[in-house]
Symmetry: C2
Subunit: 430 residues, 2 copies
C-alpha cells in the first residue's frame, strides 16, 4: 500500500455516522509500520480490492472498515515465537476499527465472517492478533430480539429474588440411566437447588433418552417445588444437530423441562437465534469450544465478544469459565464477561452470568464478592453431587452458606450449627 | 487422582472394540506426572465423576475415554509463558485417546462438545493443548452422508478432467452492484475460469441482492459455457442465518447458481449437514473463524480436524489456507488438510481440496508440485480480477500456465508467446 492507499482506511470518528458502524477493538503485534498494518487489517475485512481494473471508482468511503484509533508501542520482539514474519521493527498495537455493518447486515454468521475471519487472522505482517471487544449501534441491535426472559424473567419463574440463582450439574454426568439420574436431581432440588441441570456433554443418549429424562426430572422439579414452596426448574440439554433443536425443545418442554441448555459454539449462534424465535422457556448457554480461541492473551477472540454475541442470540443465561485457577481464565476476563451480560445493550435484556468451575459452598462467598452483586448463577457439580452426605445435603450446604453471607455472618462460623455446610467446607474448602 | 483412579483411564487398544471408539491424538504440555495429566484429560471429557456418592458402581469401563498411547518428554519450561500453572516438572506429551462415541452419538455438535470442549481446554495442569487429529470407525461414519458430488461429481458437472479446477473470487468483493459484478464474472468465465465465486464476505446485501446476482451470473455462466464449450458454474455465497440457508439455496439455484458457498464455522457444521440433506448442487466450504483456534502450533485444534469434519458434514470442496507465507500456515499442515480431503474415509466421498491465498498464474506450478496431483481447486482473486489486462486475460493466464505445466514446458518460457501470461508473471510473479 502507498501513503494514499493507507489514508483511505483511516477516518475521524466524528466524520462517520455512528449508527452505520460497529466498533471493534483489536490488540495486535506487527512487523513494520503499524499504520500500514492497521490499514491492511481494515482493508482485508472489507474492501480488499476497492476498484475494478481500468475503472475510476473507490468503494472505500461507504464500504471500507476504518481505523479510528491507533496506539503503537515498539517492542523488542513478538510475545511468542512466530514463523514466517521476520521480527524486525516489531510493535504492539491497539486499534479501534469502525466497520460498516451494512456490508453484511444483522446476521450472525456474516458478522463472524467479517470480524473473526480471513480479514483478521491473515493480515500481512500481523502474526498475532486478538479481537478484544465489539460494540453495536442501536440500528444494528434493533434487528435482534435478545433474551426472552432475561434475569428478571428467570427470577419471576423461580420466585427467587435478592440472591444468586442456584444451579447444580447432575453427576455422574455420563452413564447414569434416567431413573437414578432423576432421583439425585430430585434430592438436590428438594435440598435447595433452583435449577437441576444436565451436564453439557449429556445428549439425547440411548442409555438416558431426553424424553424419559425430562419426564422424570419434570416430575422431580414439580414435587420438590411443592415440598419446598419454591418453584424448581429442570434444565434439559438439547444440544444436538440443528434440525433437531426445535423438536427436542418441544419434547423436553412437553415432558417437563423448564429451561433448555444449548452448547452455543458447537451448535452455532445462528441456530440459537432460530431456536430463540420458537422457544417457550429460558435458553441457557454452555461454553464448550470457546476456550480454543479465547484462552490466549495475544491471539484469538476475547471471551467477552462471545458473551455479547450469546446475549444477542437470545440466551437468558450464559454459563462461562469462572473465578479461580481451575478455569484458567484471568479474573479481569471473567469480570469483563459478567459485565457483558449485565451492562446496557440497546433494548436487549440482560443475561444472567453464571461463572462456573469447581464451585461449592466453600467458594460462594468469594464468587459473590467478586461479582459484587446477587445477579449471578452459581453452578456447582461435585460441590452438590459429590457432597459426602449426598446431593440433598450438598444443595443444603449452598443455601446455608448463602444465608450466612446474607446475614453478614462468616460462613465458617455458620458451619458450626450446620453439618451439611461443615461437611462441604471440609470436603471442598481446600 | 490416586493410582487406581488413573489406571481406570488407561487401556490397551487390543482390549477395546475398535468400532465403539473414536481415536483422538493430542499434544500437550503439562506440569507434574504426565500419566496423571492424561488420565485427567480422559476423565474430563467423559466420566468426570464415575460413581454416585455411596453407591458401588463404576461407569468407566463403558463410558470413559481411555489413554491408549502416551509419549512424554521432559522440557525445561512451557513453550510459551503460562499463567496459573507453575512451570515445574514440565513435560511435552503426545497421547492418543480412545473416546466412546456412544457417549454422544453421530451428532456434530455433541462430538465438538466432547472433543473440543471443557474436557480438553480446562484439564488440571495442562495449560497448553492441541487436538491434532481424529479418526472415526466405520460404525460412526455410517451415520453420515458426506459429500453428494465429491471430486468425481464436480468434474462431471464441469466436464473438467485431468487438471485442477479453476475457481476465481470475483473482486471488488464488497460494494459492486450485481450488474457490473456479473459482467466481470462473465469475462473471467469466458476467459477460462470453471467457477466464478462470490467472496466469503459477500452476503445477500441490499446493494447486491443474492437473487439478482444469481440470475445475472447464472446467465453469464450459461453464455460463457456455450461460447467456450466448457460448462461453467456460478458459486453463490449463501452464508446467512441458519433458517435462511435452505430458502437462499433454493433461490440461488432457481436463478442460476450451480453451487453454493457456506462459511462453515460461522454458520456451524451441523447447519451444513442439514443443508446437505436438502441441497441439489455442490456445497463449497470457506474457512473464516478457523484460524482463531487452528493457527498456533501448541494450542487449539489442528485445521486437519476441521477439514475432516467439513468433509463429514457434506462439503464437496473445502477452501483452506494454502501454501506460501501469505496464509501463515506451515506447509505440512496444508498437506495434512489436503490429505484429509482425499484419503479413504469409510464410504464418504472425497472433497476437493482448494488451498488458496494470493494465487495467480505465477503460483500455479508451485501449488501443483506441492499437491502432487491434479485433484485440487485453484482459487485466485486478484490474480484474475486484478490482472492488469482485465479478468478475461487473468483467467486466460491461468489456463496458459496450466497448458505449459501439462506439456512439461517452463511457464516462463510459454509466457513469451502469451501476453496474458506474461502480464500475470510480471504483475504477480514477485
Amino acid at each position: 500500500m502507498n501513503t494514499d492507499d493507507i489514508a483511505g482506511f483511516f477516518a475521524r470518528r466524528q466524520d462517520l455516522d455512528p449508527e452505520a458502524y460497529l466498533e471493534l477493538d483489536f490488540a495486535f503485534e506487527c512487523a513494520g509500520d503499524p499504520r500500514e498494518a492497521a490499514a491492511h487489517l481494515a482493508s482485508e475485512q472489507s474492501t480488499a480490492q476497492w476498484r475494478r481494473v481500468g475503472v475510476d471508482e473507490d468503494f472505500r468511503p461507504r464500504f471500507a472498515a476504518k481505523v479510528v484509533d491507533l496506539d503503537a508501542t515498539p517492542r523488542e520482539k513478538f510475545s511468542v515465537p512466530v514463523d514466517g514474519v521476520p521480527a524486525t521493527d516489531v510493535h504492539r498495537v491497539r486499534v479501534t476499527l469502525a466497520h460498516p455493518h451494512g456490508n453484511f447486515g444483522p446476521r450472525l454468521p456474516n458478522l463472524l465472517s467479517a470480524v473473526c475471519g480471513e480479514g483478521v487472522f491473515f493480515v500481512p505482517k500481523i502474526p498475532l492478533i486478538r479481537l478484544l471487544d465489539i460494540r453495536f449501534p442501536a440500528a444494528f441491535l434493533a434487528a435482534f430480539a435478545g433474551p426472552r426472559f432475561g434475569i428478571a424473567g428467570l427470577r419471576d419463574l423461580l420466585r427467587a429474588y435478592d440472591r444468586p440463582i442456584f444451579f447444580g450439574v447432575i453427576k455422574p454426568n455420563i452413564g447414569l440411566p434416567a431413573e437414578p439420574f432423576a432421583e439425585i436431581g430430585y434430592q438436590a432440588m428438594a435440598g435447595g437447588l433452583d435449577i437441576a441441570k444436565d451436564d453439557e456433554m449429556l445428549a439425547d443418549a440411548p442409555w438416558c433418552p431426553l424424553g424419559e429424562r425430562a419426564a422424570l426430572l419434570g416430575e422431580a422439579a414439580r414435587k420438590a417445588g411443592e415440598e419446598t414452596g419454591e418453584p424448581k426448574i429442570y434444565l434439559a440439554n438439547i444440544t444436538d444437530e440443528v434440525d433437531r433443536l426445535i423438536p427436542l425443545h418441544d419434547l423436553a418442554v412437553a415432558r417437563g423441562a423448564g429451561a433448555v441448555l444449548v452448547n452455543a459454539m458447537p451448535v452455532g449462534l445462528s441456530a440459537v437465534r432460530m431456536l430463540r424465535a420458537h422457544a417457550s422457556v429460558p435458553l441457557i448457554a454452555h461454553f464448550p469450544f470457546v476456550a480454543s480461541f479465547a484462552r490466549l492473551p495475544w491471539f484469538g477472540i476475547h471471551s467477552r465478544v462471545l458473551t455479547r454475541l450469546q446475549r444477542l442470540a437470545g440466551f437468558d443465561a450464559v454459563i462461562m469459565p469462572g473465578f479461580g485457577p481451575r478455569m484458567m481464565t484471568p479474573e479481569a476476563e471473567v469480570q469483563d464477561c459478567i459485565r457483558a451480560c449485565l451492562e446496557p445493550m440497546g433494548d436487549i435484556l440482560p443475561s444472567l452470568p453464571v461463572p462456573g468451575g469447581s464451585d461449592s459452598a466453600a467458594t460462594l462467598e468469594r464468587v459473590f464478592a467478586k461479582v459484587g452483586g446477587v445477579d449471578f448463577g452459581f453452578v456447582p457439580g461435585r460441590g452438590v453431587f459429590g457432597h459426602p452426605m449426598g446431593p440433598a445435603a450438598g444443595a443444603r450446604s449452598l443455601r446455608q452458606a448463602w444465608d450466612a453471607i446474607a446475614a453478614g455472618v462468616p460462613v465458617a462460623e455458620r458451619a458450626a450449627k450446620h453439618p451439611e455446610l461443615a461437611a462441604a467446607l471440609a470436603a471442598f474448602g481446600g
